[in-house]
Symmetry: C2
Amino acid sequence: MAAKDLFHNAVKQGLLKDDWVITADPLKIKIEGVKLEVDLAAEKIIAAQKAERKIAVEIKSFLNTSAITDFHIALGQFLNYRLALQMSESDRTLYLAVPVDTFESFFQEKFTQEAVKFYQVKLLIYDPTEEVIIEWKN
Amino acid sequence: MAAKDLFHNAVKQGLLKDDWVITADPLKIKIEGVKLEVDLAAEKIIAAQKAERKIAVEIKSFLNTSAITDFHIALGQFLNYRLALQMSESDRTLYLAVPVDTFESFFQEKFTQEAVKFYQVKLLIYDPTEEVIIEWKN
């Protein structure tokens, strides 16, 4: 399996372990002539709220040698997808899935923290080896 | 000259023809452990205002087959660079340089127009063959 697919699969397995139902892989959005693809869509019934939670997840591996280059791409995708969801399916919340080692290093930098806060990027921290979701950061 | 450098040079020549002084190529910004590079910095004395205008320009060629992929990267770079400039040099205005044929096609799509408006992306439209700046869109 290619490295990128391993990370994709790790997030998918992590969501399944937490009782999410994967409803699209990938989630395709079309706005007139522009087609976008978010990695995953998932849903879960929250019993306490008697409501269904709908999410979309863009999965990043941060495998390139330059974390900032990976972050440019991740931020652009996240903000374009969030806007596209607002235009097409506004009850679905978008998350950016980030491997735990990248979260504990590059995402602790002052600039990265400012960018995540300023652009209100919701993060899903995952362990690519254990295939589990570690934390949701809203 | 590589295709990417041709586009870079076209914007640079276009700015020089309009009496801009190129002050950095590239413009390096460092915020603690994170290093960013914007393609160009330029300055110009605006006589009527007796003031100096300072800009930074990120130059995109949109040469890939997928315009939306290029746009994800462009948007991520633009928004990260704008934030980094706000943190380090807030009197410098950032522009995204887009070739005129891409502006007249992909940038007329409903989604692209929404994204440019929503994220307040300032555009500089250039002709890569004639090496001139066609329009500034604020």
